[in-house]
């Protein structure tokens, strides 16, 4: 007997004690197909404008910095200003995201824009988030050529652009959006839920930012909530 069959057999010996396999199979198939909601915190159930406010407050509460800009056209300037204010070289790394590509980077004459996955030498990377989650100030980022995962973790400064209209109230709302976005091509290889910059408390339980991932997380919220 294979290890797989032996393990399943032992489990089944207990599980089938109550009801028949047919009933159980239906219960499982139903739950997977309908994925019922559980308890949804009141805090995340808000009107769009309030949602964006809570998202910003929660993100700042976990040491992210947040800036609102009117439109995508304002993003390159905001990025350049951020880099200057942190005394960083005028250079960023981005993926192939169409929304990022459409922004007027060429107007920032001194800014170098490298594309593709990070090689570990970039000090700043820019990604476009799939959505924000207001209840905890979390960003949802998905892997792929548009926004390579390495940009989320290797640069010291991670700048994430998210549309105000894409700020969801709760984790369940964000997963519903993910499910919709991956209906045709399936789940992306990696989905990163990011809540503030990297940190560690492993030396005497003192929290220090910038463990292995970014030391700083800067969020640019674009446009108005809809």
């Amino acid at each position: 007997m294979s290890a797989r069959d032996a393990i399943l057999k032992r489990i089944r010996a207990q599980a089938t004690a109550g009801s028949g396999r047919g009933d159980r199979a239906k219960a499982v198939a139903d739950r997977l197909a309908k994925h019922p909601h559980g308890v949804i915190p009141q805090r995340g159930q808000l009107e769009p404008a309030e949602r964006v406010k809570l998202f910003i407050a929660k993100a700042e509460g976990v040491q992210a910095t947040v800036q609102s800009v009117k439109s995508g056209d304002d993003v390159p300037k905001a990025v350049a200003t951020y880099l200057r204010s942190r005394n960083l070289p005028a250079s960023i790394r981005i993926g192939g995201d169409k929304r990022l590509k459409a922004m007027p980077w060429d107007k920032q004459k001194a800014l170098e824009v490298k594309t593709g996955p990070s090689d570990g030498d970039d000090l700043a990377g820019v990604s476009h988030g799939l959505c924000g989650i207001a209840e905890t100030g979390t960003l949802m980022l998905t892997s792929g050529p548009d926004n390579p995962t390495t940009i989320n973790f290797l640069p010291e400064h991670h700048i994430v652009v998210v549309d105000a209209a894409d700020v969801e109230g709760t984790l369940e709302d964000a997963f519903a959006r993910l499910r919709k976005a991956s209906r045709r091509k399936g789940m992306p290889r990696a989905v990163n839920l990011v809540t503030g910059p990297s940190r560690s408390g492993d030396v005497e339980q003192k929290i220090i930012l910038g463990a292995h991932g970014p030391k700083a997380l800067h969020i640019l919220v674009v446009g108005k909530a809809k």
Binding site: I7, Q14, G18, H35, P41, G116, S143, A190, S198
Partner: protein, 478 residues
């Protein structure tokens, strides 16, 4: 790893005398409890979410075979492979095969308790493959040749000056004059040293907090980002997970995530919650070429249907040990195996046998704080009591204890005799209590009174006082 649970008493004695350890344990007592309390109070639905989280796991465990099959199918659909391992040795063999096929010389590792359970690091080293721990706490204890003393804060027993010594001893390529006096310096140095290791590694191994049957995803919940670098930069990603990690859907994960971080570190959400589903897609510019999941049983399926089944709800948040007065006093290493604290006291006998770890369920005052804070509402004291019963049934505890208990049982089963005996003994003890009203020494209990004093009893028994109080009440009635 070598199990030292049979010498728990000796381990605990040594821990009490270890000044570095006692200093470090102060960080557990002061930090975790208040942070969790604040986080729980900050979410009005917290208690309701705990109920829901418990129910999700109960449902999943009742249909574990079907959810594991659904999960395996979903992993395969995403291009990954699930390997089933009945024992620790099977799991080690599977990992080694994958590493050999990848031609691996070094593997990076994210934090994983089940790789500790199966002794993976020692085995890989023995097989000529270098494992590199990348979580800061795990890295520190790997340098020290130790094992984790806490399931989410593996180096909680170590102080900063000890870490500095270890870094100076191992990082000899760096200038000896460098300043390492602050935790920031130590973290910065580990970050720089480990950066190159991610790129050199052929295989990245991580654990899993959840496996999602609906999508075939494995999920890690971390704060540092090392787990993500480990699984993104290696050519091969191996996920080590035990069978009870599976949950049905993303909605179910959402429920449990809300209680996990709050119970563990007091965060509303850990910094990185990452869902990994299969290997790199055709157009992906990064990510591993292969995605493997090693599903470990190692005794868990035999817990189903027993009084220890509820332990399989555990999500490894560490709240039980953070709130345990015994853990606070002796730390994690005294428990003698991988899982310390109350969850370890229940799980260890299930996985390695009560004959080797019978001391652990006894190392509890039954104060009940562990159950009160457990996000999955696992009745830990009740299960420790079950182990004590089994230990007694099998005659594993010492003869003096057995006869003592039998003697006590003789009186306890005869209430009139019991009352008579106590009514004689209590006034005598009370009379000998002295001005301090405390005993610093008692015959036959010298071991107990060596470290604490026994308060002298009141001059009458509880039953006598009760009877008197009731009589007074009767009199007071008109």
């Amino acid at each position: 790893m070598q199990i030292t649970s049979p010498t728990f008493k000796k381990n605990a004695r040594a821990a009490l005398d270890d000044r570095q350890l006692q200093r470090a344990l102060g960080n557990v007592r002061s930090g975790f409890i208040e942070k969790r309390a604040q986080a729980a109070a900050g979410l009005p639905e917290f208690e309701e979410l705990r109920d829901r989280a418990r129910d999700i796991k109960n449902h999943t465990l009742a249909h574990l075979d079907l959810y594991l099959e659904a999960y395996e199918n979903a992993v395969a659909e995403a291009g990954g492979k699930v390997h089933w391992a009945q024992t620790a040795a099977d799991a080690r063999g599977i990992v080694l095969d994958i590493c050999r096929r990848a031609g691996a010389r070094t593997v990076t590792k994210g934090k994983s308790m089940i790789t500790e359970e199966i002794g993976l690091n020692e085995f890989l080293e023995y097989s000529g493959i270098e494992p590199v721990e990348t979580d800061l706490g795990e890295y520190i204890i790997q340098l020290r040749g130790e094992h984790p003393s806490h399931i989410i804060a593996p180096a909680v027993h170590v102080n900063k000056d000890q870490v500095e010594e270890d870094f100076r001893r191992v990082h000899t390529h760096l200038p000896p004059s460098r300043d390492l006096s602050e935790p920031e310096d130590l973290l910065g140095e580990a970050r720089r040293v480990l950066r190159s290791r991610y790129f050199e590694a052929d295989v990245g191994i991580t654990g899993a907090n959840f496996l999602v049957a609906e999508t075939g995803s494995s999920i890690i919940v971390t704060n540092e980002g090392n787990g993500d670098l480990t699984q993104t930069l290696g050519k091969v990603h191996i996920v080590m997970a035990s069978i009870e990690k599976v949950v049905p859907t993303l909605e179910d994960v959402s429920q449990i995530l809300r209680v996990l971080a709050r119970s563990a570190t007091g965060q509303e959400m850990s910094v990185y919650t990452t869902l990994s589903t299969g290997p790199r897609r055709e157009k992906d510019p990064d990510g591993p070429d292969e995605y493997h999941v090693v599903l470990l049983d190692n005794g868990r399926s035999s817990m189903l249907g027993t009084e220890f089944q509820e332990m399989l709800r555990c999500i490894r948040c560490g709240a039980c040990m953070n709130h345990c007065p015994v853990y606070h006093t002796v730390g994690g290493h005294a428990y003698g195996w991988v899982y310390p604290g109350p969850m370890g006291a229940v799980l260890t006998p299930s996985l390695v046998g009560v004959d080797k770890s019978g001391h652990l369920p006894n190392a509890s005052t039954f104060c009940g704080r562990c159950e009160a804070v457990c996000p999955m509402r696992i009745p830990l004291p009740k299960m420790m009591r079950h182990w004590r019963e089994r230990e007694f049934e099998r005659g594993l505890n010492p003869a003096t204890q057995r006869y003592g208990l039998k003697g006590w049982a003789f009186f306890a089963k005869r209430p009139r005799l019991y009352r008579f005996a106590t009514s004689m003994a209590i006034p005598i003890l009370s009379a000998f209590g002295g001005a301090k009203r405390r005993f610093s020494w008692l015959p036959l209990a010298g071991g107990w009174t060596k470290h604490r004093e026994l308060p002298a009893p009141e001059s009458r028994t509880f039953m006598q006082q009760w009877a008197q109080r009731e009589a007074l009440k009767q009199e007071a009635r008109p």
